[in-house]
């Protein structure tokens, strides 16, 4: 089959704001090098891109970790590359924020101690850094349920949560380093009003996926383009990447998702444990199934780690 156009799905992830204008030069280069039209779709939600990929309506996509996970599991997607932060960070981190005027709360321990008097701004339930990561590391590990321990819990986007903390409307809220860094640039006055009380382990940088059934010839061309872009000492390319706040891409594969899978399973396990309606034996069965999957994941991760050290 002879592909004339390549459909490229792009979403606003947690870590960057996508603006067509910054993308256009990169996509132009891409279609020049590949010799086929690259048609971008800037979607504000990943649901459409993932479903489109399932029916071969999208060929490549730039997604967040959680959405890439869905794409891999549901739509026959495969990770082949990973973005790299322009400052050289290998990824980004989840944060918990508190207003500076609040001198009482300075750590997770403080927060848990006073939780009954606090309002908590949780993230979007499908967000990696705003929800998944803190719900595991902050709450599940401490054996508490974020929905229950606070005076009030709300779910909102990073920006709303930041604003709410800065103006004192909520006491504690989730966020991530990328978003906070951007706010520091655009709104230094707001940035000065908040402090960070907790920082998560590293979250891998955003993956780039293609659909598995893409013709091998096309896969090859795309891979070559991505891997060489910005590495040929062409300063124009570097500049284009910088505008996207990136350094040259790194190769990657589905294994990038293993820690995310782990978190998802932990989250599910937690949900099961907290389900009052489910019968005890059914619950035990399901928890066991999850634990089996987790063990498998652990083995896979160990194997990868071993391979690396070899």
């Amino acid at each position: 089959e002879d592909m004339k156009t390549l459909n490229f799905g792009i979403i606003s992830t947690e870590s960057s704001q996508n603006l067509k204008t910054v993308w256009v030069p990169f996509l132009d280069d891409m279609s020049k090098k590949l010799g086929m039209e690259v048609k971008p779709f800037f979607a504000s939600d990943y649901a459409g891109i993932i479903q489109a990929m399932r029916f071969d309506k999208v060929d490549i996509a730039w997604l967040g970790n959680k959405s890439a996970l869905e794409a891999v599991d549901r739509s026959g997607a495969q990770i082949f590359a990973q973005t790299v932060d322009v400052t050289g960070n290998p990824g980004y981190w989840s944060l918990l924020l508190v207003n500076k005027n609040n001198t009482k709360i300075n750590s997770v321990a403080d927060m848990l101690e006073h939780s009954k008097e606090l309002t908590f701004g949780n993230g979007d339930p499908n967000s990696t850094s705003g929800f998944l990561v803190p719900s595991y590391y902050v709450f599940a590990k401490n054996n508490v349920d974020a929905k229950k321990i606070f005076k009030r819990t709300t779910n909102a986007g990073h920006e709303t949560n930041f604003l709410a903390v800065a103006s004192g409307q909520v006491d504690v809220a989730t966020n991530n380093t990328e978003n906070v860094a951007r706010i520091k640039l655009t709104h230094p006055d707001k940035y000065d009003k908040v402090k960070i009380i907790w920082k998560s382990p590293l979250i891998p940088a955003d993956p780039i996926v293609w659909r598995k059934n893409l013709p091998e010839s096309v896969k090859g061309k795309v891979y070559d383009f991505m891997m060489s872009y910005g590495k040929t000492n062409d300063s124009a390319e570097i500049e284009i990447l910088e505008a996207l706040q990136w350094a040259p891409f790194k190769a990657s594969n589905d294994d990038q998702l293993l820690p995310i899978r782990q978190l998802v399973l932990f989250k599910e396990r937690l949900k099961l444990n907290n389900d009052p309606k489910m019968a005890a034996n059914e619950k035990a069965q399901k928890v066991q199934a999850i634990d089996d999957q987790l063990a498998e994941l652990n083995r896979a991760m160990d194997a990868i780690a071993a391979a690396k050290t070899n």
């Binding site: 029916f55 869905e70 701004g121 339930p125 499908n126 709300t154 909102a156």
Partner: protein, 262 residues
Amino acid sequence: MSDITANPLIKKPFNWVSAISWAVLFMLLGWGWNAAEMNPLILIKDSGNMLEFAGDFFPPDFRDLSYYLDEMIITLHIALWGTVLAIIFAIPFGLMSAENMAPAWLYQPVRRLMDASRAINEMVFAMLFVVAVGLGPFAGVMALFIHTTGVLAKLFSEAVEAIDPRPAEAVRATGANKLEEILYGVIPQVLPLWISYSLYRFESNVRSATVVGMVGAGGIGVILWESMRGFNFQQTCAVMIVIIICVVIIDLISQRLRKAFI
């Protein structure tokens, strides 16, 4: 009297304004056909995909029904207050932006104000109220209220502009003042339509998820949103069925109420 058959028939002069308007509309549609990448053929060709995807939604998963109903109640509360406040404000604003009720110096600015309160995104209002009253349903009520006022005032005023002027004139001719003229001559004529609009907006406020989600007030719209984004399509289907039932009930109430006033 029989020379009429010799007369050329009456024909209105060619209406340039209307001809040009239609031409412009068709040109825009033609332009838009390409710009919007209209392609009905592919829709037919790949409609199998739609069936396959729609299949994911069945059977609906009602395990969390009681949770959905709880959240539906929250949603109804927020939508009810947002709509009731909006109706209260939309009545005067709507009358003030009707051309046959208010002088130009009044209706023009009021109409523009209403345009703005529709056009400014609900999220902006939501944020605006969040900073004042904090996260929670109240901010959602306020945001819905402002937006709904803009919509209802527009719809109300356009119903008023289409009334039969004669009964209102008769009331005015008795020496009644403006308010009395409106209450006795105008409202009885527009009441069925006003009820229809109000319940339509109530319904669409119940459906609206973004605002209520943004202020962290929860509600059925947010559950729908989340289950969809979480790819739990069978749950999504169950939530939608709850919403559809609610919309049908509101529609039936609307029919009943309007019937009482038609």
